[in-house]
């Protein structure tokens, strides 16, 4: 029987948080689009629209509350994530970024350098996604409490909310393309967040070479299947 080595990359808490966030994010984008594009709002009618707006707020609560609960449950995990996100870039990180765009269009020809636990591009994209999520959450809370703020504040916050929405829409689409493994070299990546959180030895070596070597050498999170 062939034994394949796997590395446990994500905990159940991380996967649960990501899962809830994915569902909430999709629901928020769809319900937000209805208000963002007047033609859709007018087509569905005011009764349905009110229901969609209430739904938008329910999912917004999940979008904000679940990561906060996860942070409280695992402050060390959050600190680790932040440390990774702001880790200094080495030569391989810089080279990765230089090659990333050509690689997206010619994965057969371009070989990417080894990466640490979080790829440099991942750090950049995730950082922007986290920032946009923070902005959209804060501005959303202010809009919800709109009757207590002046029209000027309301208008400015609305712009922040809309810009963050556009940012999340664009970054989220790219994130899903890679994360869900639609891009050929990333096939199987969905298991990391929507499966058991394990990555095979070969996938880990391909995507996060430096990290995989360290993990395989230590054996701490390595499991056999």
């Amino acid at each position: 029987m062939t034994v394949t080595l796997y590395i446990q990359r994500h905990s159940a808490l991380v996967r649960f948080t990501h899962y809830v966030h994915t569902v909430a994010c999709i629901a928020l984008i769809l319900s937000g689009l209805v208000v963002f594009v007047p033609a859709i709002a007018q087509a569905v009618g005011s009764g349905v629209l009110q229901a969609i707006r209430i739904g938008h707020r329910v999912f917004a609560v999940a979008f904000i509350a679940v990561p906060l609960i996860s942070l409280i449950r695992s402050p060390k995990g959050f600190a680790h994530m932040m440390k990774e996100m702001f880790a200094p870039w080495d030569a391989d990180d810089k080279r990765f970024m230089r090659l990333f765009v050509p690689y997206m269009f010619a994965p057969k020809k371009i070989h990417m350098p080894k990466q640490h636990e979080t790829k440099s591009g991942q750090r950049l994209a995730d950082g922007m996604l986290v920032l946009a999520a923070l902005l959209i959450s804060i501005s959303g809370v202010v809009l919800w409490a709109g009757r207590f703020v002046s029209p000027q504040v309301f208008g400015s916050v609305l712009i922040v909310h809309d810009v963050s929405f556009v940012l999340i829409l664009i970054l989220g689409t790219a994130h899903a393309y890679l994360g869900a493994g639609v891009f050929q070299p990333y096939r199987g990546s969905a298991r990391l967040m929507f499966g058991d959180g394990r990555v095979s030895e070969s996938d880990a070596l391909y995507h996060w070479g430096h990290w995989a070597e360290e993990e395989l050498a230590s054996g701490k999170n390595v499991v056999e299947e």
């Binding site: 208000v35 007047p38 709002a41 009757r147 809309d162």
Partner: protein, 275 residues
């Protein structure tokens, strides 16, 4: 259909607030002032600004002069702009422009998003919390449809308000301004002829725009302009990303990458070092 307008003459207004009361009565808006709830502020003005239950407010601006106290009264309500920023940003089409120029807010369609309040340069539409909708003057379009005058105009005992074809109201307003100037009120001006594309609520400002709290050269609020910009930009951004990712997907079709192992990676690293 001929465009109509209300003409308010601040020089005739006695600030009796009859229009305020009549507006509330006709439109079934409750008073937002509870008895003895508010402290006297030193002004005879009812409340600081329009609110969800108040579509029309007579404002009092007081000035100490040699002759004693002088008041500059103002009728604060929707101006019914020809280019209404509120209508442009309304996501549900609850705000529409009628053939006579009235800017109408349909509360059965309104979802209470408050975008109109943020976009209006005058901050006129106000949120009505109990109903979850925005509220503003509709120039009594229901009365007008039956051949009646707006409730505020009908009730004004000082004849400070008139309603009729816009060109006639404009002519009357201009003539009144000339009269006031002749009488020594050199700053008298007519507001609403060209502002925001031309308004359907004109204002004879006896002491000039500023004295009556009117915005000179009002402009669409930045939010309305940004809204117009944000939507096509979002569309272009998303289309570009989807196009780019689609192309990326197509170039990857048929490619199956290597399955590296620790050994193959070490061998590769060694070969690279030798190079």
């Amino acid at each position: 259909m001929t465009e109509s307008a209300i003409l308010y003459d601040s020089s005739k207004c006695s600030a009796c607030k009859g229009c305020q009361v009549q507006c509330k009565q006709w439109n079934m808006m409750p008073s937002s002032l509870a008895k003895d709830k508010y402290e006297y502020t030193g002004s005879y003005q009812s409340m600081a600004d329009l609110n969800g239950d108040t579509r029309l407010l007579i404002e009092f601006r007081e000035k100490d002069t040699e002759k004693g106290i002088e008041w500059a009264f103002s009728r604060r309500a929707c101006f019914h702009c020809t280019e209404p920023a509120c209508m442009e940003v309304c996501p549900v089409g609850a705000i529409s422009k009628l053939a006579d120029g009235t800017v109408r807010l349909d509360s059965t369609k309104c979802i209470g998003c408050k975008y109109c309040t943020a976009a209006c340069p005058f901050g006129v539409p106000k949120y009505r919390p109990n109903f979850g909708v925005s509220n503003k003057c509709t120039q009594c379009d229901d009365r007008v449809a039956k051949g009646l005058k707006p409730a505020c105009v009908k009730t004004c005992p000082a004849a400070a308000m008139a309603y009729g074809p816009r060109d006639e109201m404009l002519a009357a307003g201009k003539a009144r301004v000339e009269e006031l100037k002749t009488a020594g009120f050199s700053k008298a001006e007519l507001y609403g002829e060209t502002e925001m594309g031309g308004m359907h609520s004109l204002f004879v400002a006896k002491y000039g725009y500023e004295a009556h709290g009117l915005i000179r050269n009002p402009k669409r609020s930045d939010i309305a302009s940004l809204f117009e910009l944000a939507k096509p930009l979002a569309g272009i951004g998303v289309a570009a990303v989807l196009g780019g990712l689609g192309l990326s997907f197509l170039t990857g079709i048929g490619y199956k990458r290597d399955e590296p192992t620790v050994e193959s990676v070490s061998a590769h690293d060694a070969a690279k070092e030798e190079e």
